[in-house]
Symmetry: C2
Subunit: 383 residues, 2 copies
């Protein structure tokens, strides 16, 4: 079953449309969420607020949401929303801000501790409408129904999902990303590629349309990231990267698959639950190591990957698969992402702790079921 009701508004100078989108859905007073405050420098905040005012939408603000967003901030948002009687949420930022918005919406709809929902103790239900203005393309959260939050007290970086969590409308103006620091653009590219590949590498056979669709997204991310290294203000490259990141995880790419293999995300979440590593950077380290460890289980898929994405035509299946993985690492290095745990100062002696965290809910993975020891082996490969 595929369904995605989010209305995507994409292009230059579209932020001014947010007020109308909110108003036409009968929402009168929104909780505006944001992160570090870069939106005050690049004009995004001013454009959004003007549009809210022009459309007589009231608002209260809550800033300071950090990458790898935390549960305490979600509690704070729920409290503010209840106190101020807001009837909708506007997230202005990247995945962290949007995921926080979703968790707040879920929390408002639940009569208990919102973390219960992450623990799977109750289903997520909410009627709080979510709107977003995206300022960094990476997670795809602007057009999907999932959210990842870190319970900082328990070192758990876990997720929720529900049909109620699709944003009603999301605005993507790629030009606001011209001023992003390079590492954020690159982190986003890695995140998008990883999402595609985690859906691509499962044991589904003959899903040609979705495999070709995956190739389309990955090739476009590679090409546009490359162009952006040369010119961060290349609008067409920003637009291609932005739309690719959205499509990478808007559920389309899941159709006819077995749900994918999310081991890399799962392991990375354990990594960023302990260390302040950017999610994309963590994935650039973990996924190639995961591939090294599991590709032999489903080698023909890695052969097609190597051929289709990197044009590798020579060699045995094993050589092609390895060459494909090597090309991916090479690309990550080229865009200045770390590819080893040692590069981000994770102590070697911490690896068992990370492996234990990642296997907290039992075995993970689809290509190969991974237990704690497998995960430790992957972390060692990644070191």
């Amino acid at each position: 079953m595929f369904s995605n009701p989010t209305c995507l508004i994409f292009g230059k100078d579209t932020i001014k449309r947010i007020g109308k989108e909110i108003k036409k859905r009968g929402v009168k007073n929104v909780l505006v969420l944001y992160g570090s405050g870069s939106i005050f420098k690049n004009g995004v905040y001013d454009a959004a607020v003007k549009s809210l005012k022009d459309n007589e939408v009231g608002f209260v603000q809550l800033g300071g949401i950090k990458p790898n967003p935390v549960l305490s901030k979600v509690y704070e948002g729920i409290k503010t929303a209840m106190k101020e009687k807001t009837d909708g949420i506007l997230a202005i930022g990247g995945g962290s801000v949007i995921d926080t918005a979703k968790a707040i919406a879920a929390g408002i709809g639940y009569d208990g501790d919102v973390w219960d929902l992450f623990e799977g103790k109750a289903p997520v239900k909410t009627n709080v409408p979510i709107f977003t203005i995206l300022t960094i393309s990476a997670t795809g959260s602007e057009m999907n129904n999932g959210a990842v939050i870190t319970n900082e007290g328990e070192n758990k970086k876990w997720s929720i999902g529900s049909p109620d969590l699709f944003p009603k409308a999301s605005i993507i103006d790629p030009s606001v990303q011209f001023s992003l620091p390079w590492n954020q653009t690159a982190n986003g590219a890695v995140d998008a590629i990883t999402h595609v590949l985690e859906l691509y590498f499962d044991k589904t056979e003959n899903n040609m349309i979705m495999d070709e669709y995956s190739h389309a997204i990955v090739k476009t991310v590679l090409k546009s990231t490359d162009l952006l290294m040369k010119n961060p203000s290349d609008y067409d490259a920003r637009a291609n990267l932005a739309l690719s990141a959205t499509l990478a995880l808007n559920k389309t790419n899941s159709v006819g698959r077995q749900g994918g293999d999310w081991s890399s995300h799962w392991i990375e979440h354990s990594l960023s639950a302990f260390y302040d590593v950017a999610h994309g950077a963590g994935l650039a380290i973990v996924m190639p190591a995961w591939m090294d460890y599991v590709y032999a289980e489903c080698i023909h898929k890695w052969v097609v990957f190597a051929e289709s994405i990197f044009g590798i035509t020579a060699g045995t299946p094993d050589e092609k698969a390895k060459a494909g993985i090597a090309e991916l690492r090479k690309f990550y290095k080229k865009i200045q992402q770390p590819t080893k745990l040692s590069e981000i100062n994770v102590p070697y002696e911490d690896l068992p702790k990370i492996a234990a965290n990642a296997s907290m809910k039992g075995k993970i993975g689809n290509i190969k079921r991974l237990d704690q020891n497998d995960i430790l082996n992957i972390l060692k490969l990644a070191y």
Copy 2:
């Protein structure tokens, strides 16, 4: 702006879910539309009716909808729906049946002659929910908001569109298409390819993600149609063709484009307004001729098309473009589609009449604006 709220339910043995989908949206009594009656032979009707009964959804029936669906049938459907006080429509069939359902829904929502809406005299608004069970993959109508109807009295094959016309839920069980006559499978493949290419060939530059997405769909249609010629009951090939046809025109492929160039559809509609030619067969004739006539206006796009779809690497740009068009015609011949008007017994002396019909609303096209004389030239090339 991209938005598509249709819930797609895809896979083997999914028809039995229709009753629940209708019931959960509060609909109590549906008008069931169908075509020639093949649904009584392949089990689709029985499965659908059982599901309606199991979920206590009442229904009245209206069959006999033909390919190139006509306005008189729309009037009949509106009358039946009003008389029987149905509160939803279930279309079981292909694009003709679904388009008729949309036109009936639009007509119920309009206080006047439904044809006014096709003439653009009033906006399309309706609150009649539409559900579909797809039995032939071709038009993409199961997941879009457009409908094409022929006003047989005036020889006008025209369209409507509205956000209100997206089906609420559409069920696609590719296995019910095993028993399709070959020409219907092939017509559907041509229609899907044409939809993709009419969006692909406009003057938009650097929309890499959507261009790659277009290549993904066309390549999958070519490959799966080929497989189905050998084995019409190849489930994976049916599923790939079905999903590709849906994605070809569910609006995704329009993101960031200038709306495409629909000259081929427009000319074909004039053709099938006069003659009883299958829509796909008409397109197999018209589109390559249109390409012959206009490719020089935007030759670099035809070069990429030839390279990406057919792997053509040798030659000048002009030679590559021509080779790509030749490969497309070759494929259509291979799947037993006509590629010349003379093959379907259109009298040569009728060409001016067809050209006049196709330019009834003025010039058409984006790659090249075509007047009546241009269209006549294309028809001559197609003869």
